[in-house]
């Protein structure tokens, strides 16, 4: 049985259909990377998995439990087994890094202060942020915030991790650092994960399978080496990063040819 089962999931906001009959299954310990252009419903997919949004039709099941049918208390129990890493980290800005990472532990576990401290230190070490415990989120850079967000997500030892564009807006070096941390978490913790990213380099490093969302539909969901040679023109255009092709609804402005080329 798949750990995460997305079945015929559809979601629209007013007249705008964001997801249309999306089907995805993620097996235990598997790392699925979801690619897609901006506004194709990748974040909406994650929010449906977390139960932050309710599907218009279809359903999401986590470990066999259909998320939309759970009571609030049952949903909170399921959420304790899922760690969510937000695009902009979503750290609690009134708390320090330590308090952010310790938040879930204090709410859901009867741990002593020493045990909480040890677990927070362990999580921060995993993401390379050991010396930042006393800092406030406002004192951190974008990449540091994401890493603290990772530490907060793994603190409760979840079985599933969801990463919402963890590298967007970061420089290439920090993007690589984040990619390595995700890989480390995958290997050290053996967690099932879904990562949404635009960064193809880290996508191919992290993924056991890659899916591409295009205009609300899932075009492909396959192993990276198969995905790379998929003949679908949309997939090939996305992999090339070229503006010309079927990917965009509105045609892009024509490519300017450098003057030297005319001469």
């Amino acid at each position: 049985m798949a750990v995460i089962d997305v079945v015929n999931l559809s979601k629209a906001f007013g007249p705008k259909v964001v997801l249309s009959n999306v089907n995805l299954q993620v097996e235990e310990g598997e790392s699925l990377v979801v690619l897609g252009g901006s506004g194709t419903g990748k974040t909406v997919l994650l929010r449906n998995i977390m139960g932050l949004l309710t599907p218009d039709s279809g359903y999401v099941a986590v470990e066999g439990k259909i998320i939309a049918q759970l009571s609030r208390d049952e949903l909170f129990t399921v959420r304790q087994s899922i760690g969510m890493c937000f695009q902009m980290a979503a750290l609690f800005d009134s708390m320090t890094v330590f308090e952010n990472v310790a938040f879930g532990l204090r709410r859901h576990h009867k741990m002593t202060e020493a045990e909480i401290r040890a677990r927070v230190e362990e999580c921060l070490t995993m993401v390379g942020m050991k010396e930042t415990e006393k800092l406030k989120p406002a004192e951190l850079s974008g990449g540091m915030k994401r890493r603290v967000g990772f530490a907060r997500a793994i603190a409760l030892k979840p079985k599933i991790l969801l990463f919402d564009e963890p590298t967007t807006g970061l420089d290439p070096v920090m993007t690589d650092v984040i990619g390595r941390i995700i890989l480390d978490l995958k290997h050290e913790l053996g967690i099932t994960s879904i990562t949404i990213t635009h960064d193809l380099k880290s996508a191919f490093e992290i993924a056991d399978r890659i899916a591409l969302l295009f205009r609300g539909e899932c075009l492909a969901c396959e192993a990276p080496e198969v995905f790379k040679v998929n003949p679908n023109p949309v997939i090939q255009q996305f992999l090339r990063g070229d503006a010309d092709g079927p990917f965009l609804l509105d045609p892009p402005p024509p490519k300017r040819i450098p003057k030297e080329a005319h001469a």
């Binding site: 929010r47 977390m50 139960g51 932050l52 609030r72 909170f76 129990t77 959420r79 304790q80 899922i82 760690g83 969510m84 937000f86 695009q87 902009m88 979503a90 750290l91 609690f92 800005d93 938040f103 879930g104 709410r107 859901h108 907060r152 409760l156």
Partner: protein, 258 residues
């Protein structure tokens, strides 16, 4: 033409019902969450600090100013009828029954209601409330309940402070400026009052505190649209809660004086 008018009126009624229903549901969830575990004492104490202790200067200054202005008006008015002695009695009645609870309520709607709306609004647009949900924490329990409890306790306490300050505001004008006897003022201030009046003032303050916290949290929780939304939430919170404070004051006065 007629159909368009009906259409507009209908849409307005539906929207108003929807808004009120949303508020009622969230308020109900907040009251139900009061008894839920875990109890977050530290969070509650922080709210007592920001809602209560930090509001004392504002309440003291406004109560002093309003009671002094009111005393000036009373002294001037009763002088027309050579009935200056009544000024302290009416001052006591007005401060206890109306000025203290309403001024405290309105000032705190501006100070803490807007702060709640701004804080929760910022948390909403920066996905911090979603993060709470993802950390298996009910935002209503974590955010609404401490603010609601703090507000329900603090507004009545500050109303009592306001009554006390109101006494001295009247004293400054009627004794200090108008030359009435301090002994007479001290007796006359309480002459028309009974314990029931203090109870009415505290009941009113309890209702106002509830309105301030629920409206502030509700407006913040429902914030949409980034910086503009966060900017609108406190304004909307202050206007709505001030309006409800004044409306509920009328009904509470009618109800409780019977």
């Amino acid at each position: 033409m007629v159909l368009a008018v009906f259409d507009k009126v209908g849409a307005g009624v539906l929207k108003a019902t929807d808004t009120f229903g949303d508020f009622a549901v969230l308020a109900g969830r907040a009251f139900a969450a009061v008894f839920k575990r875990p109890f977050d004492g530290k969070n509650l104490l922080n709210q007592f600090q920001s809602v209560g202790v930090n509001s004392i200067p504002v309440v003291v200054l406004t109560s002093l100013a309003v009671s002094m202005v009111f005393a000036v008006q009373l002294a001037f008015g009763f002088k027309q009828f050579q009935a200056e002695g009544l000024a302290s009695q009416v001052e006591g009645l007005a401060v206890m029954r109306e000025l203290a609870p309403v001024i405290t309520g309105l000032m705190l709607a501006g100070r803490i209601g807007s702060a709640m709306a701004a804080e929760l609004g910022t948390m909403q647009v920066t996905e911090q409330i979603d993060a709470l949900e993802c950390l298996a924490t009910d935002p209503i329990h974590y955010l609404f309940v401490p603010r609601l409890l703090a507000s329900m306790v603090v507004v009545p306490l500050l109303t009592v402070v306001s009554v006390y300050i109101g006494f001295w505001g009247g004293y400054l004008i009627l004794v200090g400026v108008e030359g009435q006897s301090a002994y007479v003022y001290g007796n006359e201030f309480y002459k028309l009052l009974a314990f029931k009046d203090l109870r009415i003032a505290i009941y009113k303050a309890l209702v106002f505190g509830t309105i301030i916290a629920l409206v502030g949290c509700w407006k913040g929780y429902r914030t949409q649209g980034g910086a503009e939304g966060v900017g609108n939430a406190p304004t909307s919170s202050v206007v709505t809660s001030s309006l409800w404070i004044l409306i509920s004051d009328f009904f509470l006065t009618k109800l409780l004086l019977v």
